[in-house]
Each structure stands twice: as structure tokens, then as C-alpha cells.
């Protein structure tokens, strides 16, 4: 197949050729970036929290009448006792946020020396007690759980200075990349805290719609945060008892005392519901981007079909002449296929450049990672296939032009 005559013919249709090339280029740039966003979102929203999500629910409990820190602590202990005694409850503890909640976690700066100059690592705090591991359903990989005598009580203005903490494996590796973090000392607000245990994985409550780097860096602090504003009770149910417990647990708390608020809409929430809510935006963006990609590819294919048909109809006489001069049907078919290959090829080269530029812009504004190297070639192959598919119909019609066409209308 000779490429020279194809190029010569394209030169006579400069504008139409430029239009298709531009269209293919833009399509590649948009589709590759959009698919990349879809992929990062899907990965993001399917990350596990490291907990027994199917059996856990959280109760956001507010206190009425500005009780003192000591009163709050006493009421929290009584509430936890009541919750743990409920039939169907496997375990329960109190914290100030729950996984997948999004937003209001307590951020801690973890320093390796008390007077550290370098930027400290950030981590998210869960207040916990000896029941927290069993309630989360997370696994200790090193060290030990908290002991009952380690569990303190904190007011909202107290500094965070626990003697012992448990951290996630992810945070342990970040703090001490070269050796085990177990038994090492770190500094939160002030005083030294010894790492007594390392858990497999436990996601913080932030899991919002951006790709945060500290989602897996959690610290368990052995204390009840007796905040007069309110607390979160985390409850893990026995299998099959979740729904019944989500109604029974708030009723049991109101039976303890009535000076509390548990909002009827959203005050009691299972982690499954929290996951659906927390990732609503990510799911939405993924669905929309995917839909736009499909529409875009269809539009591009439609454009190729339309313009190829036009070219075929314009060149009926030339095709007839070529056929009369001995070109086979296959020759004509291949002519249009190669022509399409060349046009899409030019579009792909231009589009790859545009795609990288668009990715760089998105990285700056939307904290997206860099495009993986395999994605653009994949998009290119996809567009080549799409182009060939789109041109097949018009090319076959061209091949069907009889040699006698050369003699018509002359």
C-alpha cells in the first residue's frame, strides 16, 4: 500500500483532516484523564477501613445542660456498661469520631524528639480503651492491647499526653522506617508516649473525597474524652443483630438518663451507611466521568463515520476510475483503512501531549497523582480500534463502487 497518494489526497481536504485530528487528540486527552480520575476514585472508595464494618455502628450522643467533665466521665462509664450488657452486643467503647465519618477527627503532631525542628508527622487520634480492638475487629500484629489500669479520662482542654499508645502499621513504618516501632517513644502534645502495640490497619475518620495521605495513620489513645459537647459510642454487634441493636441501643441509653440528644436522623449510623454517605461524591464523580467518556467516544466515532461517508461519496468517480484501472475491492478498502490509521495516528500523537499537559494542570489544582505511563498508549490503541470500526462501514461502501461508475455522469 502506498502512503504517498493518501497524503496527497488528504492535502486537498486540509480543513476536514485537521478537524478530525483535533477531535481525536482532544478525545484522547479528555478520556485518558477522565478514566484516570475514575480509577483513582474507585480505588479510593473501595479501600477497607480495617474494621469489621458489617457489624459496627456508631451513636453520636450529645449532653444536655453543660455537665462538668467529671459528670460526663461518670455518665460515659455508665453508658458503656449498659451498652456492653445489651444482648447481641459483642463489645463497645467511646471515642470522638468514627471511621468514614469525614471531617472532625483530632489531628496529632507526632514528634520523635520533644524539641523536634523538622515538620512532625501528622496522625489522627481515636480515643480508646481495652475494648477498642475487639470492637473495631482489628488485629494486633505486634505488642499488646491496653490494660484496664491504663485508661485515663480527659477534659476537652487537657493536653494529649498518654503514657502508652497503639499505632497502625502504616504510621509505625513512617515514623521508624528502619526498625520496629514497638517500645519506642514519641511525643504528641508534650510528654513521652511509649508505643506498646501495633495494629494491622485502621482508617481514620477523615476519608473524604480527596486523596489524603494520612488516612491510614491512626493512633489509639487510652482515654475517655469526657467532652461536655458530646461523644461517640462505637458498638460491634453479634452477627445478624445489627439492625435490632441500632434501635435497642439508643433506647437503652435514654433509659439510663434523658438529658442527652441522639438525633433521629443520622444520630445512629452503621459503618455501611457511613461508607455510602462518605463516598457519595467519589461515586458520583466516577459514574459521571465514565458516562461522559462513553458519550465522548460515541461522538468521536459518529464524527469519523460522518466524514468518511462524505469523502467516499465525494470520490465515487475517482474510486470508479481506480477500479476500472485494475484496483481490487481490497485495495479500495485498505486505502480508506490506512487513511484512517494515519489520521488517528496524528491525533494520538497530538492527544498524548495534550493529555500530559491536562494531567499536569489537574495535578496542580486537584491533588491528582501523575498519569500512569501505560494509560495513554492504552487510550491510543482504543482510539485506533474505534477509528477502524467507524471507518469500516464507509470503506466497504467505497469498495462496493462498481468500475462502471467511472463512465457515469461524464
Amino acid at each position: 500500500m502506498q502512503i504517498q497518494p493518501i497524503l496527497a489526497a488528504l492535502r486537498r481536504h486540509k480543513m476536514a483532516t485537521v478537524l478530525i485530528v483535533l477531535q481525536i487528540a482532544l478525545t484522547l486527552a479528555v478520556v485518558s484523564n477522565a478514566m484516570f480520575i475514575v480509577r483513582t476514585r474507585v480505588v479510593h472508595l473501595s479501600r477497607p477501613t480495617g474494621t469489621d464494618e458489617a457489624h459496627i455502628f456508631a451513636i453520636r450522643n450529645g449532653w444536655i445542660g453543660s455537665p462538668s467533665v467529671r459528670q460526663v466521665d461518670a455518665r460515659m462509664r455508665a453508658d458503656l456498661d449498659a451498652l456492653r450488657r445489651l444482648p447481641g452486643v459483642r463489645d463497645a467503647f467511646a471515642s470522638e469520631a468514627y471511621p468514614l465519618e469525614g471531617g472532625w477527627g483530632l489531628l496529632a503532631r507526632v514528634k520523635l524528639q520533644p524539641e523536634q525542628r523538622a515538620h512532625p508527622a501528622l496522625a489522627i487520634v481515636y480515643f480508646a480503651d481495652q475494648h477498642a480492638m475487639d470492637t473495631f475487629g482489628t488485629r494486633l500484629v505486634e505488642g499488646r492491647n491496653f490494660r484496664a489500669d491504663e485508661i485515663g479520662s480527659m477534659g476537652p482542654y487537657d493536653k494529649l499526653t498518654p503514657a502508652t499508645i497503639i499505632v497502625t502499621r502504616d504510621l509505625a513504618n513512617k515514623l521508624f522506617p528502619n526498625d520496629s516501632a514497638l517500645g519506642r517513644t514519641v511525643y504528641l502534645d508534650d510528654g513521652p508516649s511509649a508505643i506498646v502495640g501495633i495494629v494491622d490497619s485502621l482508617q481514620g475518620p477523615y476519608a473524604g473525597s480527596t486523596t489524603r495521605t494520612i488516612d491510614e495513620d491512626s493512633i489509639l489513645v487510652p482515654a475517655r474524652l469526657a467532652d461536655p459537647a458530646g461523644t461517640v459510642y462505637m458498638v460491634r454487634s453479634q452477627p445478624g443483630r445489627l439492625d435490632a441493636l441500632m434501635r435497642a441501643a439508643p433506647a437503652a441509653l435514654f433509659a439510663q438518663d434523658r438529658l442527652r440528644t441522639i438525633n433521629p436522623d443520622g444520630g445512629v449510623i452503621s459503618l455501611i451507611q457511613a461508607r455510602a454517605q462518605g463516598y457519595a461524591t467519589d461515586r458520583g464523580v466516577a459514574i459521571m466521568m465514565a458516562a461522559v467518556c462513553v458519550l465522548l467516544l460515541l461522538a468521536t466515532a459518529g464524527g469519523v463515520v460522518g466524514l468518511s461517508s462524505f469523502w467516499v461519496s465525494q470520490r465515487r468517480r475517482q474510486i470508479g476510475v481506480r477500479r476500472a484501472l485494475g484496483a481490487t475491492r481490497g485495495d479500495i478498502l485498505r486505502y480508506f483503512q490506512v487513511e484512517n490509521l494515519l489520521i488517528v495516528g496524528a491525533g494520538v500523537v497530538l492527544g498524548s501531549g495534550l493529555g500530559v499537559l491536562a494531567n499536569l494542570a489537574l495535578m496542580q489544582r486537584y491533588e491528582l497523582p501523575r498519569l500512569p505511563p501505560g494509560l495513554l498508549p492504552l487510550g491510543a490503541v482504543l482510539l485506533w480500534l474505534l477509528g477502524q470500526l467507524a471507518v469500516l462501514g464507509p470503506a466497504r461502501r467505497a469498495a462496493a463502487v462498481p468500475p462502471a461508475e467511472a463512465t457515469r455522469s461524464v
Partner: protein
Amino acid sequence: MAPVRAERLESRDSGPSRMPVQRASMIGHYVDLALRSCRRSKALTALVIVLMGCGVATCMVTYAVFRATSANPIPWKSSQLFVPQVDNFGPTNNNAGEPSDLLSYADGTVLLHARQAKRQTLLYTVKLAVVPGNPQQQPFSQPGDAVTGDFFALFDAPFRYGSGWDVADDDQGAAVVVINGKLNRQLFGGNNSVGREISLDTHLYRIVGVLDDWQPRPRIFDHASAWDAFGKPVQIFIPFRRAIDLQLAPAGNVICGARKDDPAVPDWDSFLRSECTWIAAWVELPAPYDAARYLSYLHNLAAEQQRIGRFDWPPNVRLRSLAQWMEVERVVPKASTLSLIVALSFLTICLLNVVGLMLARFMRRAPEIGVRRALGASRGAICRQFLIEAAAIGLAGGVLGLLLTAIGMAGIGLVFEPQIAALAHLDTSLVVSTVVLAIATTLIAGLYPTWRAAQVQPAWQLKSNG
């Protein structure tokens, strides 16, 4: 040259009085021609219309969401509303040179009492439990803000019954409250409840005003504190001084510990004295020079703090307008800007596509154009004919786009969170802009093909076909 002569001929022949009549009848003729040509190349026409419809609909649906999320909640007054910021963290602890979004108690109260603006308010989010009079009913919590009396006039909050409180109430920290429409319906069945009392967190408050379901979206006024731009509307407003006296801890954003010399905060009083920032402030400055004056006041205030040794850095203050504040706070969800960008590139691709297809449509009719030109039609006449054809296709694309937009709006709840989806709706302006966008885009897409059509040389076409 034939075309030039034809043009001159036409302009000489048609008298000024006859011209409009002729033009009008010609437009009818062009529309007829457009319909005929559409019937001849059905597939190509359908393709163009579908492409325009899809492109326009995608744009309009995402634009509706974007509009709903980025709209100015108080457009008639936003240029007069400003957020003052004072850097009390210093260059080593502030966020890349920017002062905190919120003020410390010390700076906030100084601004409030200085009264350097027409109106000023301090604000922080509090969590209050409403305890219904009927003991059978569960107490429930509602989003609340502690504000000063100026707040309601500053944001033009509409009152259904009563009004805000006065300066005396502010100064004494009176037990008064303004509630919003929903809470008034819940507790009083929507009747005038001014003068009645409600129990918030076991304290009694006298209702002085009921708002008329005020819910500016996005909720920018307490965003720095509450971080809930598209959440439920605030139902309870109590005096700032009252909340401080009751030691109501902020339920929203508190930024502490950014300074090394921060005293420990074991209790409420030391919290108020600390450099923690947790108070949002707004000032109303009607005239443009007021803003410049207020900024220099802020500057002097910070300089004074440097002089007395509280700040060991030069004044670092900001005075941002509401529009600027919306950018600083990034209230527009990233998803909605991102989808608007994707939709715009989608429309661009459709546009390129349509240019190509229109070119094909028009050039296919080169012989017809040749004949028309040879029979005396000017280039202008050819242009008019083809632009009318483009507009007709654009109109059809707009109607299809409208249909698809309506479908898309119904499906918006699948994609965006319910509270955002509820904001986006199909209204007259969206309908009009859909159709206008479709026609405008198709006309733009038709410009180049039309120009090419007008370049057709009559003699050449006739020869090559003869």
C-alpha cells in the same frame, strides 16, 4: 469577475423600500431550502443534531450543579461584606504566610467594640439541644450560631415575625433567641412565637424573632466555623455574649497550639485568653473607601499588638470581600468544577465534530451552490442561506438538548449528594440558556463551512459537472 458583478447588480436593483420585504420572503425560502436539504441527507443531519443535543445537555446539567454550588448567596450586597483577618500565629506558625480563617477571642472582641464599620458581627457555631416542653418528646439538637445583633441586618436575613435583638441585649448577654422557620413549625406549628420561651440546653430563652426559612446557599456566613456549606440551615441564633457567659464550647473549627508559648488551656477563661482562633467575623462597609479605611485600621491594630509585644512580627492582616472569601474557603465542591471542565471539553469536541459534518453537508451541495451563484445569487445570499440552515439545525439540537437536560437533571441525584442535587433545578433561565447555547454553538460551528460554501466558484462547478 462574476460574483462581484452579481453583488453590485443586486444592490442597485433593490430599492430601499422593497428590500426588507424581499429579505423576509428570502428567509422563508432559505428555511424551506434547509428543510429540503435536511430531508436529503437524513443521517448526517440527525448526527449533527444528536451531537449538539448531547454536548449541550451535558454542559447544562453540570452547569446547573456548578451554578447551584458556586452561586453568590447574597448578590445584592456581597460587595459590601468583608471578612477581617489578623495573623496572631506569626510567620513560623501560620499557614504559608496566610492569617488564620478565624480570630482569637482577644482580636474578635476588640474589632467588635471598636465599631469601625457600619455593622459588625462575631460568630461561632454552637451545639444546642432543644428540650421540648412536652416531656414525652425527645430532646433534639439543631445547628446553632452565636452571633451579635448586627448579624441579621448585615446579611439581610428576612424576618417572618419579630426582629433581632438590640445592643443592650448584646452587652448583657440576654437570654434571647432568634429561630428559623423549620424549628418554629416544629415547636409552635408555624404560629407567631415571638415572646414565648424555649428551653435550650436546660436554659430558658425568650424568642424575639422568627426567620422566614432563611437558608442562603452556600452557607458562607459561618463556613469558617461550621464547615458545612451545603448542610441543613441554621435554626438557632443566640447572642454571642450569652454563649461566652454560659461557656458554650465552639462546636466548629478551633485552631490551637500553633504557638509554642501558648499557655495550657485548663479551663474556659484561659481558653478565652489563649491564642486559639475560633471566631468568625464579618463587617459591612458600604462605600469603596470604607474598605481601605478599615484595612488601615486593622493594620494599626496589629501594629499596636506588635508594639506591646504580643506579636513579634510586622502586621499581617487581610480584608476579603465575600466573593474572595468564597474562593479562600473553597466552598465550591471540587467535583462540580471538575465536571464542568469535562463537560466543556465535551462540548468543544462536539463543536469540532459539527464543523466537520457541516463542512461535509455544505460541500456536498457545491454543484447546487454553483448553479445558484451562476443564476445571480451573491456571496451574501449564500452565506445567509447556510447560516439559516445552521441555525435551524442548532434549534433542533437545542430542543433535543433540552429534553436530554431534563432527563439529566432527574438523574442528578444518582451522581451528586442529595443536598447538592436538591439545589440544582431546571428553571426558565436554564431552559433559555440551553437553547441559546445550542444555536450559538451551531452557528459558530457553521461559520467556516458557510464561508467555504460562499467561496464556491460558479463557473468551476458548472464546468466540472458539465
